[in-house]
C-alpha cells in the first residue's frame, strides 16, 4: 500500500489540477451572461490570457501527474480515482463559480460517476 502512495497522490493531484484548469477556463470566458457571439467570446479569452494560460498550465501539470501516476499504479486503480474528478469539479463549481447544482444535476452526476466506474472496472 505504502509504495502506491506516490501514485495515489499523483492521481489525486492530476484530478484536482484538472478541475482547477476547468474553473480557470470558465472564468476566462465568464461574460456574466450567456448570449455573446463567438467573436466576443474568443476576444474575451484573448484579453484574459493570464487566466487561459493558468488553465492550460493546470492541464499540462495534470497530464504529467497522470502519466507518472500510471508508472506506479495500475490503470484500473488510477481510473477509479479519476472518476472522482466529476465530483471535485461539481464542488469547485459550487464554491468558486457559484453555480446552482440542484438535486437533479447531482443525481445525474452520481449516475455518471457510477457508470464511469462500472465501465472502468470491466
Amino acid at each position: 500500500m505504502i509504495e502506491r502512495l506516490p501514485g495515489l497522490l499523483l492521481v489525486l493531484g492530476s484530478v484536482i489540477t484538472e478541475g482547477l484548469g476547468h474553473v480557470a477556463f470558465k472564468q476566462s470566458v465568464d461574460l456574466g451572461c450567456y448570449n455573446h457571439t463567438t467573436f466576443e467570446i474568443l476576444q474575451l479569452a484573448l484579453k484574459r490570457y493570464k487566466l487561459v494560460s493558468l488553465g492550460v498550465a493546470c492541464f499540462v501539470v495534470a497530464g504529467f501527474c497522470w502519466t507518472f501516476a500510471l508508472k506506479t499504479l495500475d490503470v484500473s486503480m488510477a481510473y477509479l480515482i479519476s472518476s472522482l474528478e466529476l465530483v471535485i469539479i461539481m464542488v469547485l463549481c459550487r464554491l468558486l463559480l457559484k453555480e446552482q447544482i440542484g438535486l437533479r444535476r447531482w443525481v445525474g452526476v452520481v449516475l455518471i460517476v457510477g457508470g464511469t466506474i462500472l465501465v472502468g472496472l470491466s
Binding site: I101, R105, G108, L111, G115
Partner: protein, 156 residues
C-alpha cells in the same frame, strides 16, 4: 428572448447551440483519446521523466494530438461561455460511451454486462443533467446587449 429567465421552470428549453458544440467536443475527445493511446504506447515501460518527454515529443502524431487539443480548447471555451461548467463537464462523460463504441467497432472489443450497465447509467445520468437549466447564473446577470463589451473585470 431565449436568455430571459422563466420563473419556476425546471425543464430547460433545449439549448440547440450548446448541444451542437457538446457533440463536436465529444467527437474530438474520442479522437484525441484514441490518438493519445497510440502515443503513450510508444513510451517504454521503464522510461524516466526526460526519456518520457523525449519519446513522446519525437512522435509526429504527438503534434497532431496537440492540434486536436487546440481546436478542442476553442470549442470548449465557446461552450463554457454558453453553459455552466457543472452542466457541460458531466455531459462530456458521453465521450466514454463513444470511446467504448469505437473500441467495439474498430478493435472488436467485447462489451460485458457490467460495461453495458455502466453505459446505461451514464446515458441516464446525462439525461438527468440535460433536464436541468444550462445556465443557472443567467437570471442574476444583466442583458448582454445592454452593456456590450463590458464583462466584469474583477476576477483578474
Amino acid at each position: 428572448m431565449e436568455h430571459l429567465p422563466q420563473a419556476g421552470k425546471d425543464i430547460a428549453k433545449f439549448p440547440r447551440m450548446v448541444w451542437l458544440i457538446i457533440t463536436i467536443t465529444i467527437a474530438m475527445e474520442t479522437v484525441a483519446q484514441m490518438v493519445w493511446k497510440s502515443v503513450v504506447l510508444g513510451v517504454p515501460e521503464s522510461a524516466g521523466f526526460m526519456e518520457t518527454v523525449r519519446t513522446v515529443t519525437v512522435q509526429p502524431i504527438f503534434y497532431l494530438l496537440l492540434s486536436i487539443f487546440g481546436v478542442q480548447f476553442i470549442f470548449w471555451i465557446l461552450l463554457l461561455a454558453k453553459a455552466d461548467l457543472s452542466y457541460a463537464r458531466p455531459i462530456t462523460a458521453l465521450s466514454l460511451v463513444s470511446v467504448v463504441a469505437c473500441s467495439v467497432m474498430f478493435f472488436g472489443e467485447k462489451v460485458g454486462v457490467m460495461r453495458m450497465v455502466g453505459i446505461v447509467m451514464i446515458l441516464v445520468g446525462v439525461w438527468f443533467i440535460s433536464n436541468t437549466d444550462h445556465n443557472t447564473r443567467a437570471p442574476h446577470m444583466p442583458s448582454p446587449h445592454a452593456t456590450p463589451g463590458q464583462p466584469s473585470e474583477t476576477m483578474l
